[in-house]
Amino acid sequence: MSDSEPADDMALLVGKALGGDHAAWNRIVDRYSGRVWAICRVHNLGQADAADVFQQTWLRALENLAALRDPDRFGAWLGTTCRNEARATLRRGRRTQPVDDTWLLDREAGPDGDPERPVLMAARDSELWGAFSQLGTRCQQVLRVLVVDAEDRRPSYELAATALDMPIGSLGPTRKRCLNQLRRFLTEGIDGETRES
């Protein structure tokens, strides 16, 4: 799916899905998958647990679809459900063996370059990555969860607020502050030395 529809169409998509339209359901999944995945990841879930929580969140959404026609409600509900399932999974510690990949955002920049940085990352991204990983946890969470929202140009604050347990009104200002900090890291360089660019 390349286009993204306006929020009003969510009610329509949910209605169609309730009526048995599989394609409408697919579009809903496409539209929110990035955000749901981001919520799994900011809760420090490894790949296998994140995949389970992701599935579980969608199955519960399917179960509750009739009550989720309102787009704001849908986002908030997904955020809450995914967060709760992620926390419950962490608490149970079901998979105690080390996960094959540490959480994306946990990877720290090494002294010379960053061995754990994804290999195929472009240099431009890798600089951004380095700056991003210097941010505090809260900033990383807000930027990760709200940034995916930007895809339909209607940031779903409702989803991010419930997913991160933050007052909805604090998200915008927090994001603003975090972006400023990120920009400072980018322009000053992570070690504080000034770069020409």
Partner: protein, 176 residues
């Protein structure tokens, strides 16, 4: 969500930076394609004809976390873990229990064993659905409403209870 939303005070350079972040995440850690495909395919797992039995009790949920020493004891290294207890329930319009499905979840190797009982008692067929396995499997509950389901894969699962003369009941999807 009735709180007013603060207007975004993004500066002109914030937009491109947000776009770069978004591109970085979708490049480096996107939702896995298999997971998205599975979520889409789960549409056919809707229980159209069944009543929903909500998860009303989970021994490992936050609220059910015992405050006392029992929790500490069972979580100690080497101690046999206390099996997880789940209770699913359909409540009728008058607030009475209609159907209760109680399930104990034990880890057996990498799989799960579900040991359950039904209220009211009596024979029934229990079908277990999972996203990880294409085929739903069924077991019979005996005259006392007891049943055992082996080899359940870790991940989301739902049980459907079928009894002659009663509407089907499906439990809420639950991660085991």
């Amino acid at each position: 969500m009735t709180e007013p939303i603060e207007p975004d005070e993004l500066s002109p350079e914030d937009g491109p930076l947000l776009a770069r972040l978004e591109a970085m995440f979708s490049e480096a850690d996107p939702a896995p394609a298999e997971a998205v495909a599975l979520a889409k395919a789960s549409f056919i797992l809707r229980s159209l004809d069944a009543e929903l039995a909500a998860l009303v009790e989970d021994s490992e949920s936050e609220s059910a976390e015992p405050a006392g020493s029992r929790a500490m004891a069972v979580r100690g290294p080497g101690a046999a873990p206390q099996p997880r207890q789940l209770t699913f329930q359909v409540v009728d319009e008058r607030g009475h229990d209609e159907v209760v499905i109680a399930v104990q979840v034990e880890a057996v190797g990498a799989r799960r064993r579900l040991t359950g009982h039904l209220a009211p008692q009596g024979p029934a067929t229990i079908e277990v659905r999972q996203t990880a396995s294409a085929q739903a499997r069924s077991v019979d509950a005996d005259g006392r409403g007891l049943f055992i389901i082996d080899d359940v894969l870790p991940g989301p699962m739902s049980l459907t209870l079928r009894r002659a003369g009663s509407p089907a009941v499906a439990t809420q999807w639950t991660l085991v």
